[in-house]
Amino acid sequence: MRTPFTVRLLRSTPKSGWLAIAVFAAITLIGVPLAHLALPESSPLHLSAYTVGLLGKILCYMVVAVAMDLIWGYAGILSLGHGLFFALGGYAFGMYLMRQIGRDGSYGAELPDFMVFLDWKELPWYWAGSDSFLWALFLVVALPGVVAFVFGWFAFRSRIKGVYFSIITQALTYAAMLLFFRNETGFGGNNGFTDFKRILGHDITSPEMRVTLFALSAALLIACLVLGRYLVSSRFGRVLAAIRDAESRVMFIGYNPLHYKLFMWTLSAMLCGLAGALYVPQVGIINPSEMSPANSIEIAVWVAVGGRGTLIGAVLGAGIVNLAKSFFTVTVPEYWPFFLGFLFIAVTLYLPDGVVGLWRKLRARRALAAAPDAAESSVAGSSSAAEKADAGPANVTVPKGATA
């Protein structure tokens, strides 16, 4: 006998996890929409358009962080180019939004404004079909997926690892940024795509649309977490963890690491693409700066702050850093880069397992204080015991000094 797939999927997230997801879903799918649409603006619980937009944006970042954690925290592959996949998804959907403007642009032409401005006479071949919503959805997933697959295939087959891999991903996103900056490539140059008006004929600035996009982002995040939990607690996830620890040993017991890494890498990129597609209509613009190396590094910082290899840590990290960022950029914008740098150094030095690691340490300490008799036996495996208690048996932690 073996356990059916659906049961395994349900079991892969512990009960406390499902409870948290239920609460989160209630807030994001019901609470926030009601607070924005139904409550009058005078009510203290009313959420402004700005707040909903900001939270929606952060939800998209959280999806990216989860995707990053899957490949970095669990497979030990640090990508410093995940911003590229995010931006590719954004551009694929952004072009659909440009086409939805129709003749309502400032030039009143069939072509998007930036093309008229740059004297394009007709749509280039690669944007054919970009007025179709379904084709745009397909591109959102397929484009980052194909780029990641091809890049990963060559990189992993050549057994490029560690810091070398990270540097190449950084170069990749930088090269793409330069390409997208150019006017003649047909991606809108440094202005990118903006001035969106409609999705599927509906007004993009209406409160209903805002709430819909927000709820979709929340749903995507939940789906990513459930999928991620399944992956990391399955045998597939254990093979990945084994590859991270001792790749050659994995080969000698008959697994081909290339396929495992490639699958996770491509999946991670596709999730980023989806997040990018939801991000663009919520912020109203996509331009090449999204591909700047600094953006991709920031994604890694989110995950490091929250705690690698925990999934929930990625969500928390993305939330904490981005809320801090919006606070700083509103009040003292010039200090934000310093704060970010300080945060990264502080986390590396004092919180190698991030916020989640700190939480577990405190829990373990409290458990130790509560039951001094059991102290001796739990000293050696204190972190693992604590984590089993709150994150399910198959969770994999990244101890101090693990591979970057």
């Binding site: 194909v146 399955s234 620890d245 040993r249 697994y255 699958f263 491509t266």
Partner: protein, 292 residues
């Protein structure tokens, strides 16, 4: 899901030799989702009672000949000990057999038909050669149980592993091996917390889970207590016959306890072969061990 199908294709390419076989068996897999049908790169042919055949193997690293026209055969079911001074080429020989190192010249066959010089490491593992490294390499952050689970003979392609789960028989088998290697009470602890000797045993257990036909064991009792060493010898002797074993070891008491044929390697080729007593009496062997 475009990448899934591409992944599938890439994988089938990797097991190209078995593609036909895989197609035939696909339906069976689908219905049974069983682990008993492996993708094999050709069946192991033991018609001449030889499981491993190395002929005239030469490997050079920057002009240094790690293996120099090495020829060696191992019979099916045999327990062979390999001894030799440091730098004699013992580990390099294992690297050649497991596909980690490609020989500059020479032949390496597993059974009569499987050319080891043409296969990749995972393919060789599937064909039925298991290897234990000198330094115990286990997956430290996984439990002993999970280590054995990953090693278990199964369809190890990524898309199968994605939906793989344990059958009751698999659990029983893992429990059986845990008992055999005396780790039943440590099954759920992270393997990194085991003692050195226990790690060695765990790695031997991982080998057993793979159900290999030929086991390569590089210094399996290094760091074990006398008691553990004795038990390891018992285990190996009981495995011989059903499996073939090649053991590299410096511990002469252990080699004596195993009691099989002994091959002495020196400077990349075979210096002497025979039972331990006759090898130890060989003046050439005495010379390389005691210096000249």
């Amino acid at each position: 899901m475009i990448n899934l199908s591409q992944l599938d294709r890439a994988e089938s390419a990797a097991v190209a030799q078995a593609a036909l076989l895989a197609n035939e068996q696909r339906e069976q897999w689908e219905s049974e989702a069983t682990t008993s049908h492996l993708v094999r790169s050709g069946e192991l042919d033991l018609s001449h009672n030889v499981i491993l055949y190395l002929d005239d193997i030469t490997v050079s690293f920057d002009g240094f000949r790690a293996l120099n026209k090495l020829s060696l055969t191992i019979d099916a079911g045999e327990l062979r000990c390999i001894i030799g001074p440091n730098g004699a080429g013992k580990t390099t020989m294992m690297d050649v057999i497991t596909g980690k190192t490609r020989p500059d010249s020479g032949k390496a066959f597993f059974g009569q038909t499987i050319d080891l010089t043409r296969l990749t490491e995972p393919e060789i593992a599937h064909a039925g050669i298991g290897r234990k490294f000198q330094k115990p390499t286990i997956f430290e952050r996984l439990s002993a149980f999970e280590n054995l689970e990953l090693a278990m003979k199964a369809d190890k392609r990524a898309r199968r592993t994605l939906f793989a789960s344990l059958f009751d028989e698999d659990r029983d088998r893992i429990a059986g091996v845990l008992k055999q290697i005396r780790l039943a009470h440590e099954a759920d602890r992270p393997a990194g917390l085991l003692s050195h000797g226990q790690k060695q045993w765990l790695e031997i257990g991982m080998l057993l889970m793979q159900e290999p036909r030929l086991l390569l064991l590089d210094e399996p009792v290094a760091g074990m207590t006398d008691d553990e060493t004795e038990r390891t010898a018992e285990l190996f002797v009981s495995l011989a016959g059903k499996h073939s074993l090649m053991v590299v070891e410096h511990d002469m008491a252990f080699v004596e306890a195993l009691g099989g044929k002994v091959t002495v390697l020196c400077e990349g080729s075979v210096l002497a072969e025979g039972d331990l007593a006759s090898v130890q009496a060989d003046p050439r062997v005495i010379e390389v061990y005691l210096g000249r």
